[in-house]
């Protein structure tokens, strides 16, 4: 065996091309005969009917090739998400999946809805022509809250977003599947959570609000589509879900998969926003209108805010009952989510919110109801965490408040009552196989000085008050068994005994390509540089779901391992035949296969690889020299579990009681990774996720005017934490509980990073000033208002 590369701090496989500017993102592609496609969006209204569309003046503009309106492209409605491919059809129906979006629309359901498209010779020509298009709108009611939407939907002849969803209710848990429309479980006597509150010593009830947050990936959505002379539709895109999006495009344009080629370029960040189609339908529709000419399309940053999906905002209600000693008895809850203008991921994040409650603590009975209503906002979809950040803000604050009021040690309470090995995870019937949470809590407590500082900050006076907060979480590694988790890998042994992996791995910056290459190198015992991952082109790669649900290492890694094991097995089998030895007696080191204990009896794997490809007949004997056939390993892997990782985070904050400013001084996030394949990547996920989590809890939210127009569609008015705003962040990887199912013991980390910072900062603020904030983000204005109204509670 070559020296193991697993767990090593090696440079990422793609870092040199990125650091020299050679990395090609979708917006960097330039092709001969290329046109530019510009989507004309509605900026004036969030709810309106297009009365008239006049292209006359626009068509006179120089450089214009074609202008396409709603009737010039397919009118087949679609849904941006790939969800329907990931569940059996019956599930989609039960959950109420619908297709309610068109490429170009005659009804505007949110600011930024696409109206028509201009194809021109240059970007500038397209933009100038777009300015000359005259659209006459008839304004419709603007519905920005669940209550407004519900009320309008209940009216006779009230405005409906879609006739498919009466009352404007986009989603709720179907009673046919979920008793009382709640996800959860009853106690051992069959009593629901609602029925158990009477038996509790202490009942807490609260409503929280969680914000509409934007992914803010740095690369804008960009595409090139080319309908070529062979009648193939080619698209270059930075989607997260390459294969499923290829399938959606094929379905939308009614083409067989052989005629749709999707090339996933380097992805400039995703965080869920590219989980499905965004501008692909528009770019493809424009390309199909000008066969032979590639069409390039690049979102402006301001378009990203109004035309790609966001996190689900909404209200969360919790009612929890405990015994005096803190034993958790019953939890009942409700998540009322604002859906935005289209269905997209309608059922996903609200259901997952309930699911993550399901996976966290040992209630005797637990139930969660979730509903979503259409609103005239940019649609909500997938964003890193997928329902779990919302729980971190609400649920973890509630636990802390209960502990404080009952005089319990909140760290010990979490240790005692969190679910662990053998308990059901976020999904019924699937049990935890590993649990490193108590280690996470112990390490985080030690590193943050939890007990000493808690004591020190117990009695504070003065303007600036410090506090410490803790928060725990569990997440998932892939989405099995709720969703399909299938990955295909082909490992081809080159004639020089290097390996080409052909596998669709979406690396959004996560280090996925590096980790997969490491796993291949480890399995084969080859050096890293002898493995090359070929990814991105649907003409080459087999099926893969893509990057979602923190799945790459956990769900795609095993396919890599299986394919490489097959290559190794075939090499050893051939060596056994050539050496006249038994396969089980052979070992391979530095590409030399030898009989254990008899190193003289050996053969080079390079020779086997070469002779497999360049196989000749020995003229003297008439027999083949070596064994013919190029070696190839293949795996079509279906994940069988979701090995949820745990995590514990402690934050220390300082609240300025005169200005309301909150400064996060230190953040310690201990993550139960099982085994870190590439530790710098795992750390990177947790460090970067902290910035997004802190944004959720402190600064980030869409602001709308009364007309439903976004007020902060830029990086000045939408505040993300910058380099000098970030706290001292200490990430600790806990490997004391390697997962028995995960590849090489690994669990996920991608989405896990946000929850800890969210819950712990909210709790630290509570600790500092004694006021719990029910609305995120917790801005200085809210802090000052609360202090004014309630006074310092500590």
């Amino acid at each position: 065996m070559a020296e193991s590369v697993i767990g090593k701090r090696i440079p990422k496989v793609d870092s040199r091309e990125k650091v020299t500017g050679q990395a090609m993102y979708a917006g960097d592609y330039r092709m001969p005969g290329m046109y530019y496609g510009k989507v004309v969006r509605c900026w004036e209204y969030a709810s309106a009917k297009v009365k008239k569309l006049d292209f006359t003046e626009a068509l006179k503009m120089p450089g214009v090739v074609k202008i396409l309106g709603p009737d010039d492209v397919t009118k087949k409605p679609y849904n941006t998400t790939v969800m329907k491919l990931l569940v059996p059809e019956i599930f989609g129906e039960v959950f109420g999946e619908i297709a309610d979006l068109n490429i170009f629309n005659k009804i505007v359901k949110h600011q930024g809805d696409a109206i028509c498209g201009v194809i021109a010779r240059t970007e500038e020509a397209a933009e100038r022509a777009a300015d000359k298009i005259k659209v006459t709108y008839e304004p419709l009611p603007v519905l920005m809250t669940c209550e407004e939407s519900k009320a309008e939907g209940a009216k006779k002849n009230g405005y409906l977003f879609t006739p498919l969803k009466p009352g404007n209710k986009a989603f709720d848990l179907p009673a046919s599947f979920f008793p009382n429309q709640r996800y959860g479980w009853n106690d051992k006597d069959g009593k629901t959570a609602m029925e158990l509150f009477d038996k509790c010593d202490y009942v807490i009830e609260d409503t929280y609000y969680v914000p509409k947050q934007k992914q803010c990936q740095m690369e804008n959505h960009s595409y090139v589509a080319h309908y070529d002379e062979r009648g193939r539709l080619n698209i270059w895109t930075s989607t997260q879900m390459a294969k499923p999006v290829q399938v959606l495009i094929a379905e939308l344009f009614e083409l067989p998969l052989t005629r749709v080629r999707l090339v996933q370029t380097i992805v400039g960040g995703g965080f869920g926003v590219r989980l499905g189609m965004i501008g692909e339908p528009h770019c493809c529709a424009m390309a199909m209108a000008v066969p032979g000419h590639p069409v390039r399309m690049e979102f402006l940053r301001e378009e990203d805010w109004v035309a790609s999906e966001t996190r689900y905002p909404g209200h969360i209600w919790f009612k929890c009952g405990f015994k005096k000693d803190g034993s958790p008895i019953a939890l009942d809850s409700m998540y009322m989510a604002r859906k935005g203008g289209y269905y997209t991921h309608g059922s996903g994040p609200p259901f997952c919110f309930a699911a993550f409650i399901h996976g966290m603590y040992k209630w005797q009975a637990m139930g969660c109801q979730t509903e979503g209503y259409f609103t005239n906002e940019v649609p909500t979809g997938a964003y890193r965490g997928y329902g779990n950040p919302q729980l971190a803000f609400s649920g973890e604050q509630m636990i802390t408040r209960m502990c404080k009021e009952l005089g319990l040690d909140e760290l010990e309470w979490r240790k005692k009552w969190h679910k662990g090995i053998g308990d059901e995870t976020w999904l019924k019937g699937v049990t935890f196989a590993s649990d490193g949470l108590n280690d996470c809590l112990d390490v985080a407590a030690k590193e943050s000085g939890w007990y000493e500082k808690k004591k020190k900050y117990a009695k504070q006076t003065g303007v600036k008050r410090r506090g410490l907060g803790v928060s725990v979480m569990q997440h998932t590694s892939g989405a099995f068994p709720m969703l399909l988790e299938h990955s295909v890998c082909t490992a081809k042994l080159n004639e020089d005994c290097t390996v080409e992996l052909m596998q669709q791995i979406s690396d959004l910056g996560t280090g996925g390509h590096t980790a997969i290459t490491q796993m291949a190198a480890e399995t084969l015992g080859f050096p890293m540089e002898d493995i090359h991952l070929r990814s991105g082109d649907s003409d080459m790669c087999g099926f893969d779901i893509g990057a979602h649900a923190s799945r790459t290492v956990y769900c795609a890694g095993p396919a890599t391992i299986e394919a490489c094991e097959s290559v190794k097995k075939q090499l050893l089998e051939r060596a056994a035949q050539l050496l006249e030895a038994n396969v089980k007696d052979l070992q391979m080191k530095d590409k030399i296969i030898s009989v254990k204990g008899n190193p003289q009896k050996s053969i080079s794997a390079i020779k086997i690889a070469k002779e497999g490809v360049y196989n000749y007949i020995d003229a003297a004997t008439g027999k083949t020299i070596g064994i013919p056939g190029q070696i190839q390993g293949y795996s079509s892997f279906f994940a069988k579990h979701c090995s949820p990782p745990f995590g514990a985070c402690i934050s220390e904050v300082e609240v300025d009681t005169e200005t309301g400013e909150i400064k996060v001084l230190k953040l310690v996030n201990a993550h139960d990774i099982g085994k870190a394949i590439h530790p710098p990547s795992v750390e990177g996920q947790l460090e970067g996720g902290a910035q997004q989590g802190l944004g959720f809890v402190l600064t980030e939210e869409y602001a709308y005017d009364k007309m439903g127009r976004v007020l902060n569609n830029d990086f000045t008015d939408y505040k993300m934490l910058g380099p000098s705003d970030m706290p001292d962040a200490k990430i600790i990887l806990i490997e004391s509980a390697p997962d028995p199912i995960g590849p090489m013991g690994a669990k996920s980390c991608g989405e896990s990073a946000l929850m800890g910072p969210i819950g712990s900062v909210a709790n630290a603020i509570f600790d500092a000033i004694g006021i719990q904030f029910k609305e995120a983000p917790i801005t200085p204005e809210k802090v000052l208002k609360a202090i004014k109204e309630q006074g310092l509670q500590k």
């Binding site: 701090r9 650091v19 740095m218 995703g270 460090e687 970067g688 380099p723 000098s724």
Partner: protein, 184 residues
């Protein structure tokens, strides 16, 4: 459409260009010259993805008399200032010289800042990386031994959504140590 003839040096190569007067430097570089290592992130100078380094001082030997008898000479590096290509008009760049991330490596060797970004895994999606690396180079050229606070303040204006800046700051510190000791 009014155009203006300009001479612009990019990574040591001189370009004689005819640029529409309303075009930004970013448009000219990406769309006219196909230099796509300079990224479009926001188009209004908020994210720093399009950062390039503008040469503002002459490099080489600089001598100044310190008193009547002696002249004090120093070899100074050329001074480079970060500018944002998305809000710089190309027509105003006549006679200027700029460096992009594609022009940082010398003789195939990565610049110490680039090397530190690779070694410290300070790159995730990589979209902010060209601008971030150039910004870091400018920080170190101005101040070879910046404190962590100076690094963080210096990086303000360049947004990264992947890393939380942790490994980026670390990379600048590592590069600072290497450049301060003259190692490449």
């Amino acid at each position: 459409m009014k155009k203006r003839a300009i001479t612009l040096t990019i990574n040591g190569e001189e370009y004689n260009l005819n640029v529409p007067v309303h075009y930004t430097l970013l448009q000219v570089m990406r769309d006219q010259l196909n230099l796509t290592d300079v990224k479009y992130g926001c188009g209004r100078g908020e994210c720093g993805a399009c950062t390039v380094l503008l040469d503002v001082g002459k490099g080489g030997m600089q001598c100044k008399p310190t008193d009547k008898k002696t002249t004090y000479c120093t070899m100074s590096q050329s001074k480079r200032k970060p500018i944002l290509a998305c809000i710089a008009l190309a027509a105003t760049m006549d006679g200027k010289s700029i460096t992009t991330v594609a022009g940082l490596a010398q003789n195939g060797d990565l610049h110490p800042v680039q090397k530190a970004f690779v070694d410290e895994s300070a790159i995730q999606c990589g979209f902010c990386t060209p601008g971030m690396v150039l910004k870091a180079v400018s920080i170190l050229e101005k101040n070879p031994k910046p404190s962590e606070e100076e690094i963080r303040n210096g990086l303000e204006g360049n947004i990264c959504r992947c890393t939380g800046y942790v490994k980026i700051v670390k990379a600048v510190q590592v590069a600072s140590k290497k450049t301060a000791t003259g190692k490449r």
